[in-house]
């Protein structure tokens, strides 16, 4: 879409939009290469033959496109690669794809591939591989989330060995970003039909090959020769499963049994800071928890009840007590101010009197009894935050009973219960989250929100290449979401992890995509 690209460059030069927004949009449109943004991070150290041991849950990854957690993706990410890449700065960069370009109506995307990429079994990486991979996602027997995520893909066309064309049912500006979803690594064309677990024949394009894999225990990756990109400094990566107890992982780290923890949360900071040989790493992130209410189920089908819950909540206190004040207060709209497509909205002020009033209005003058489902899927802080909400709400006469379930049990019902706490990880764009979670009839619409205005605003944002217009449209969508009072989204969490003081060059990724391209053990 050459017009749009030219227009953006022009606007950027005249200072019509912020430079970062424009760059991002250019990247989305596949024109980033021209601005010289893509490429490997400079200054990577010379390769050394050390081992990094990462404490990480080692889960099954028979089909990399069907995993449901980040942990396995962070293991195969070192062997399998994505078409695009989003680094810690949130900017989209080409990776296996050399460049891409949408049609004017954003319904057709041409993706051209790098020509110097070889699979670890010697085959060349080609458009066939991309087509086979996407076909695998969308196949009838597929159990991958991609099946719903890419439900609007109408066809994949191999234009020539290094050019694929994707046809969409509706305009989707977020397509390149979506290609970096954890379940979207490019698989060898032989994999889909093989019927064997990927771990049995771990063919990949990445810098490492899977050397040893044992579920629940360890995955060992060894650097391979002939990688197309820059050679990572560490020779061996060992992902070691230490169980779920972070305090145990921390003491293991301090004792030198591992070098990097996958993650910890704010409540583990006091312990980590007291252990010798441990360095805490953190970053800002758009991950959050949402107390979401099902707008189609009583009593939450009444806006006044939802609003009363929202008004009674003290988001700042939830952050302070529930997450040790590590993060920033959010405004119940599920797009973070530091996300590239954020449109400003005013926060909701706590107003207990108003909440009581609304409740009485809705026919609950003596307060109301609610049940909140909590699964502690990310840790006990969820339950703690819920308890603070419980206290807040009780001020307004809303009596919340907590129904705490084991994580796995909770995950089977998370989207169905009337009132629950859901953890949302960071998506590169706010609009991806909104599209996934709040659009009428969308895959993960746990609130069952059906609001044409919201859908329209979101569509406008997703269609618009103008960063200013995009932000404005997003602002509208956020305001509608906030006003619908379907969620109490109290805070944005800082992400934490701990590494050994000997670890160099390790940066924490806000979206949970661990990156070992420059980390090594001194």
């Amino acid at each position: 879409d050459a017009d749009a690209v030219r227009w953006l460059r022009d606007g950027m030069a005249r200072g019509r939009f912020p430079r970062r927004d424009a760059l991002r949009m250019l990247a989305v449109l596949g024109a980033a290469g021209a601005t010289g943004v893509a490429g490997k991070a400079a200054g990577a150290p010379t390769p050394v033959d050390t081992t990094l041991r990462i404490a990480c849950h080692v889960m099954e990854m028979d089909d990399p496109s069907a995993v449901t957690s980040f942990e396995p993706s962070n293991i195969f990410r070192n062997c399998l690669e994505y078409l695009v890449r989003i680094d810690g700065d949130g900017i989209l960069r080409p990776h296996l794809a050399e460049s891409w370009a949408p049609s004017d109506d954003l319904r057709r995307w041409d993706i051209s591939l790098r020509r110097d990429v070889f699979w670890s079994n010697g085959d060349r990486f080609e458009a066939r591989d991309v087509a086979a991979t996407i076909g695998h996602w969308l196949a009838p027997e597929s159990v991958s989330v991609n099946k719903t995520l890419f439900a609007d893909v109408r066809g994949v066309e191999i234009v020539h060995p290094f050019l694929v064309r994707i046809h969409l049912a509706r305009p989707m500006l977020s397509l390149p970003d979506m290609l970096f979803a954890v379940t979207c690594p490019m698989l060898h064309r032989a994999f889909p039909g093989s019927g064997r677990p990927w771990t049995d024949a771990p063919v990949g394009t990445g810098p490492y090959r899977l050397d040893h894999f044992r579920v629940g225990e360890e995955a060992r990756l060894i650097r391979r020769a002939g990688y197309w990109g820059a050679t990572p400094p560490t020779r061996t990566l060992r992902f070691i499963d230490l169980g779920q107890t972070v305090s145990t992982q921390l003491t293991a780290l301090s004792d030198g049994q591992v070098d990097i923890l996958y993650r910890m949360d704010a409540s583990d900071v006091p312990l980590a800071s007291r252990l010798p040989g441990v360095r805490i790493v953190d970053c800002l992130s758009a991950q959050t928890c949402c107390f979401r209410m099902r707008t189609d189920t009583p009593p939450f089908d009444d806006w006044r009840v939802r609003r009363a819950v929202q008004l009674s909540a003290d988001n700042a206190q939830m952050l302070r007590l529930g997450y040790a004040d590590a993060g920033s207060v959010a405004a119940n709209c599920h797009v973070a101010p530091f996300q590239p497509d954020y449109g400003p909205v005013a926060p909701v002020r706590r107003d207990v009197a108003q909440a009581r009033h609304l409740l009485a209005d809705a026919g609950h003058p003596d307060g109301i009894d609610l049940v909140l489902g909590v699964g502690n899927t990310q840790g006990p802080w969820e339950q703690n935050t819920a308890q603070v909400l419980q206290q807040n709400a009780s001020d307004a006469g809303i009596r919340i009973r907590l129904d705490v379930l084991p994580p796995n049990e909770y995950l089977t019902i998370w989207s169905d219960i009337p009132f629950g706490l859901t953890f949302w990880s960071q998506r590169p764009l706010g609009m991806i989250t909104l599209d996934l979670a709040y659009r009428s009839g969308s895959a993960w619409n746990e609130t069952r929100l059906r609001n044409p205005d919201f859908d329209a605003a979101l569509d406008a944002a997703m269609r618009s290449v103008d960063p200013v217009a995009c932000r404005a449209a997003m602002g509208r969508a956020e305001a509608i979401l906030q006003d619908s009072a379907a969620i109490v989204q109290p805070f944005w969490q800082k992400k934490f992890t701990a590494v050994s003081t000997r670890v160099r060059g390790y940066r924490l990724d806000p979206a949970d995509c661990l990156d070992f391209t420059s980390a090594y053990l001194a």
Partner: protein, 280 residues
């Protein structure tokens, strides 16, 4: 060992400790200095103050007063452990008396069932209950009943089988007394002594079990301040803030200890009171 009245001194001390927790359970609103569900400043050490006042035992990660939670926590702990123990005893005594008295096929059947239940590892039992039922006080009852009723059954059965051969039971049989009356009025009161001892111990273990169930995600739902959940919630930070679990642990252990000592004393009462020795 010094004796005061019918029991040794240590038994009175134990009774005092158990009584203290009972008092806490009943008079929690009067005794607790703060609302156990209100948050102040988080993670205060013992004797620290904040806007609410002085926290003798500090506050937890949500800034709630640990002392108040301990006092209120006595309620669910005592309530659920007593209920669960009573339930387990009802099942165990029912089956045990029937099996011990009837002998023969019924005995074999019940004993077999008990063996089957006992060979089921307790942990798996708990986990199956989590998988099937989720977390609630009711589950504590189910879990404790399933895991301890067989043991109680065995004790009762052995006691009844031993007692059944005694002359007073034979005398009742000879008179033509109905079996259920013999069980209820003759046997039960006479096996109650050892059972009481056993019950004391089991009550203590149940308090610990409630904590373990909390650990497995089966305990009472928050924010109910029960000691097991307090330990469970504080576990992650306990290495740095031991006071989070030290006090609830002391509470559970003191209850458990006092019940053990009491059981010990009750159990020894028979042998250590030779004053009313019967010469057979």
């Amino acid at each position: 060992m010094r004796r005061v009245g019918v029991l040794p001194l240590r038994a009175w001390i134990a009774l005092g400790v158990a009584g203290f927790w009972l008092l806490c359970a009943f008079a929690a609103p009067l005794l607790s200095p703060f609302d156990p569900l209100r948050s102040g400043s988080p993670l205060l050490l013992p004797l620290a103050r904040d806007g609410m006042g002085m926290h003798l035992l500090g506050t937890d990660m949500l800034g709630r007063d640990i002392l108040s939670r301990l006092i209120w926590g006595a309620r669910p702990v005592l309530l659920w452990s007593v209920l669960a123990t009573v339930c387990a005893y009802a099942v165990g005594i029912g089956g045990g008396m029937a099996a011990g008295y009837a002998s023969g096929a019924a005995d074999r059947l019940f004993s077999f069932l008990a063996t089957v239940m006992q060979s089921f590892p307790v942990l798996i039992l708990y986990l199956l209950i989590v998988m099937r039922l989720g977390a609630s006080g009711f589950n504590i009852i189910v879990a404790v009943t399933f895991s301890t009723a067989p043991a109680i059954f065995r004790i009762v059965r052995a006691l009844v089988a031993a007692e059944r051969g005694k002359d007073y039971v034979l005398a009742a049989v000879m008179q033509g007394e109905r079996p259920w009356r013999i069980l209820l009025f003759d046997l039960l009161p006479n096996v109650a002594g050892p059972l009481l001892v056993d019950a004391c111990l089991r009550l203590g273990y149940t308090a610990i079990t409630i904590g373990l169930l909390g650990f497995l995600g089966l305990g009472l739902p928050p924010p109910t301040p029960d000691w097991g959940s307090m330990i469970n919630e504080g576990r992650g930070m306990a290495i740095v803030f031991p006071h989070l679990i030290l006090f609830p642990c002391l509470a559970i252990s003191s209850l458990m200890l006092s019940l053990s000592v009491l059981a010990d004393a009750l159990g020894h009462r028979g042998d250590s009171t030779p004053l009313r020795r019967t010469n057979a």
